[in-house]
Symmetry: C2
Subunit: 216 residues, 2 copies
DNA sequence: GTTGAAATTAGTACGAA
DNA sequence: TTCGTACTAATTTCAAC
């Protein structure tokens, strides 16, 4: 239910092909745009907002679902109201050769809302929601620390969630500042006229690539 | 549309009261549980799955919506299929007294999917989805670096998203390992029999509390 | 890919337990 | 409060164009 396949890949379609399954045109993107804002809109209303016929909307809606472009529909819950007022990020350093075990343990922790494997100093970032700070402390020092795969953790608390968009789409760029600013080719950005050296990019730590394969 | 009020707070209800608006009982939580798994389920089907009458389900559904416990319904899009194959985390150090400006700039960046203010070495964490690595590089070195409020950034790339749950609920704990393990009081956890020192908790950097007030 | 008409389902209102 | 029912409105499906 919550497990994502490695690399966010989709299950191979019946033909065994792995490439793009469905060419998304502008109409598809418009549909996704509406749906991520209002996941409960009727297909009839959706058709009207996108400017296509009902039957067409049904066809495309089904196609997007079947193709996996729409992964699921969900309700966003106010976690504070639901009794989980504390959010924390746990950055985890995972012991080599133990990714599989780490993933298995993760699946057994329902309080984990999100987990991503990253480049940089740490190997994974986990977001958890808990009732209070003490519960986070207990989770980290009692449960996570007892996972052999976990070499070390670093925990920070989230003080405020400034924004959360349901999902970003390519069309979002049209509303952005970059869109049509100049005719500059995207592949050849001009040298930045900015204070450099303050912007760090952190690559994978030693052996990360190998680790991922093992854990797949 | 995407702006969250500070601290995830909800708008004050007409009475001016800020406290808990709606006492969530087990039935409410069950409804939320179903809804976060299937945001498009009909209220009739919801009533059946929860085990209440349709009328009751409509009443509670509306109450949860009005109360804000359900923030919105949304479709989860496969960002890879949608053409945004690269996900990155940008950790931002924000200049004092400039939070308001930082937030304003954020609102103008549609490629930002999530932003949270955190304790620890950095001040904020931003998650972005882009078409390719070069686009991330451009975003950070051209746009973010040009924001005066941004003192420094550190960027890591997400290699794999292992899991994402729609939203964690308190009832999730029942399925967890902790539930009813012992009768131990939650407020007094026994000293952990674990390798300590590997689990770091990182508090707020200097002046963070003051910064937050200014930016609210 | 569109339109329109039939069948089904959703949403509302109300009285009773 | 919750339930059950009847009523109204809307949606989905299916057909022909």
């Amino acid at each position: 239910m919550v497990e994502m396949s490695p690399h966010g890949g989709r299950p191979a379609d019946p033909s065994g092909r792995i490439g793009i399954g469905l060419e998304l045109d502008n109409t598809h993107l418009k549909i996704l745009e509406v749906l991520r804002e209002n996941g409960r809109i009727s297909v009839a209303a959706l058709a009207e907002r996108v400017g296509i016929s009902r039957a067409n909307a049904y066809t495309r809606f089904e196609a997007l679902r079947a193709d996996g472009a729409i992964k699921r529909f969900t309700a966003e819950i106010d976690h504070v109201r639901a009794g989980l007022g504390i959010t924390a990020l746990v950055f985890v350093t995972v012991r080599q050769q133990m990714w599989k075990q780490f993933r298995a343990e993760l699946a057994r922790m329902p309080e984990v809302e999100y987990c991503a494997i990253t480049t940089g100093q740490h190997d994974a970032m986990i977001q958890v929601r808990m009732a209070d700070v003490a519960a986070v402390h207990r989770l980290v020092t009692e449960r996570m620390a007892n996972i052999p795969a976990v070499k070390a953790t670093e925990t920070v608390f989230i003080l405020d969630e400034v924004l959360r968009r349901p999902y970003v789409l390519p069309t979002d760029r049209d509303g952005g500042r970059d869109a049509g600013r100049t005719g500059r080719r995207p592949a050849a950005p001009e040298p930045a006229e900015v204070p450099l050296g303050k912007m760090r990019f952190v690559g994978a730590a030693e052996g990360r690539a190998a680790l991922r394969k093992e854990g797949g």
